[in-house]
Amino acid sequence: MLNDKRIRIIIGHYGSGKTEFSVNYAVKLASLGKKVALVDLDIVNLYFRSREKADILEEMGIKVIASSVKGAAVDIPAISSQVLVPLQDKSYEGIIDVGGDPVGARTLGMYYQHFLPGEYDMFFVLNANRPETQTVEKAMEYLRKIEDMARAKVTGIINNTHMLKSTTVDDVLRGQVLAEELSEKTNIPIRYISTIERVAKELPRDLNGEIFPMNLYMREEWMV
């Protein structure tokens, strides 16, 4: 994690698990004593955004940056000018949780002058259980379209193939096959294999990419 670039941009297909990964990543970085800012750039979704967890994240010392308009129920695509804070202030480790699909990445495009090659990582979150990214062709199409819209290049793939709380080792391994194919076709390395802790423990250790165990912060206890 500490080898990742200071600015980590998290993109992917809508519903791939970007927010859950971003929140977990921020928590882990903060637990290593880093000064962390989590930017919620999602103006596509209105439910289940990382800003909903601002209270617990701020308790951990993480700076959460989201809308310039206060109110959880605000249906306005507003972005705080503070997004620039982690981009410009190099004392911050920045995580940018981007909205899903190319349309979500459009917001990111306006910051492109801050994304100099070699100075940021952009991770593409892949979930092979989402109907729109089940084949390597479709996954690649999403990856390229998002890159075009974001005006930045993907530097790592995250295999986040899951079935929420009922995820199995098989799910992750099936996703790993797809991630490998995508990696081969695009020449982009698999950076992480993110999954719930129960599954992470059972995964073979020789997989490409670093195993990244996660807590499901975004799922209430009554959800599956």
Binding site: G15, F48, D75, N129, H162, L164, E220, W222, M223
Partner: protein, 353 residues
């Protein structure tokens, strides 16, 4: 087909297409806009038509026209948008046309908020439009059930020539869950010989209408509608119950709230409490008879809703004064937590297990 992960709103679209729906007329509103977006993308691929109307009122009247032509058609909206559609819904019910209407409820009244609610229970089950009509109202509690009810909903609509409403809260629409598109059990459906498909000079024109100029005729029409509603009440009630014969307290809840209640019940059981659940799946026709099976010594029935007590009226009708009836609800887009329900159940227990 293997399980996939879908958001509720997308799953509605996929299920409708699976059910043979080729026409969708709607107007976007949060928190259900992923559904028209999905239909705009997917319907042309199956030779269907997606049309974003100029308003909700236009959309529901397009549904009226398409349903009159005998095709499977759907519209969707969220609370304030469904309010705008009420006139058309009443016309469709009056003209006895099949269609599926999705309401992904948000906080009210008025524009309210975009967060989840269950505040349109009255509107859905009591008729938001004019006249003695009924909608079949289906209330899924998870995305899989949402898919299954959409598919069956089209069959129910065709079988009875009646609009069917899928009533889900914002949470069901926005939540991501595993789903499987199973081959549904198909009903034996009547021919749509009433549809306005062109006479080709071979028969008298079919007329789709809800206007009657003679009071005698309108009364006859109403009697026929009531006979139909009676048949629906006899045949279409759906309910899921848990441990109600043995429970000291029974919770009545539907949709998302029923899942939170179920989580609360599991935790209460670990502490030695005996709590049952009645989860209506059809809100109309309402599963009144299910309440007859409740333990006669039950200390009380707790209705939990994301509103200020709407299904509560039906629970009172069902309980017939045999048990005390309690209520717990949150509004404004606030979702009750399992702990809040646990506290309320313990209150009803009155400190003794």
């Amino acid at each position: 087909m293997a399980k996939v992960l879908m958001k509720g709103n997308e799953a509605i679209g996929a299920a409708a297409i699976k059910a043979g729906c080729k026409y969708f007329f709607g107007y976007p509103i949060t928190p259900q806009s992923e559904l028209p977006e999905y239909m705009a993308r997917e319907l042309p691929k199956v030779g269907g038509v997606f049309l974003q109307a100029e308003s909700e009122i236009a959309a529901i009247n397009m549904v009226y026209g398409a349903a009159g032509a005998g095709v499977r058609v759907m519209t969707s909206s969220s609370s304030p948008g469904i309010s705008l559609k009420q006139e058309g819904i009443s016309y469709i019910a009056g003209a006895e046309l099949p269609c599926v209407i999705v309401n992904i409820m948000r906080g009210g009244p008025g524009l309210g908020s975009i967060q989840p609610s269950q505040t349109d229970y009255f509107q859905a089950t009591r008729g938001g439009g004019n006249g003695d009509y009924r909608l079949v109202v289906l209330a899924p509690a998870n995305v899989q059930e949402l898919v299954d009810l959409i598919i069956e909903g089209f069959d129910i609509a065709d079988q009875y020539r009646n609009p069917v409403m899928i009533l889900g809260d914002g949470m069901i629409g926005q939540m991501m869950e595993p789903v499987e598109f199973r081959e549904p059990k198909r009903r034996d459906l009547p021919e749509k010989d009433w549809a306005t498909t062109g006479t080709q000079g071979k028969r008298k024109p079919n007329i789709i209408n809800s206007l009657y100029l003679q009071p005698e005729e309108l009364e006859e029409h109403n009697k026929r509608l009531q006979a139909k509603y009676k048949a629906i009440m006899e045949n279409e009630v759906k309910v899921e119950s848990y441990n109600i014969e043995d429970a000291d307290v029974v919770i009545a809840a539907y949709g998302t709230t029923s899942r939170i209640a179920r989580t609360a019940i599991s935790q209460l059981e670990e502490e030695g409490y005996k709590v049952g659940l009645i989860r209506p799946i059809t809100l109309w026709p309402y599963p009144y008879d299910e309440f007859e099976k409740i333990n006669p010594n039950c200390k009380g029935i707790l209705t939990v809703e994301m509103n200020t007590g709407q299904m509560l009226d039906d629970v009172k009708i069902a309980v017939k004064g045999k048990h005390p009836v309690y209520f717990y609800g949150r509004t404004g887009g606030m979702v009750p937590t399992p702990n809040e329900i646990i506290e309320k159940v313990k209150e009803i227990y009155g400190g003794e297990k």
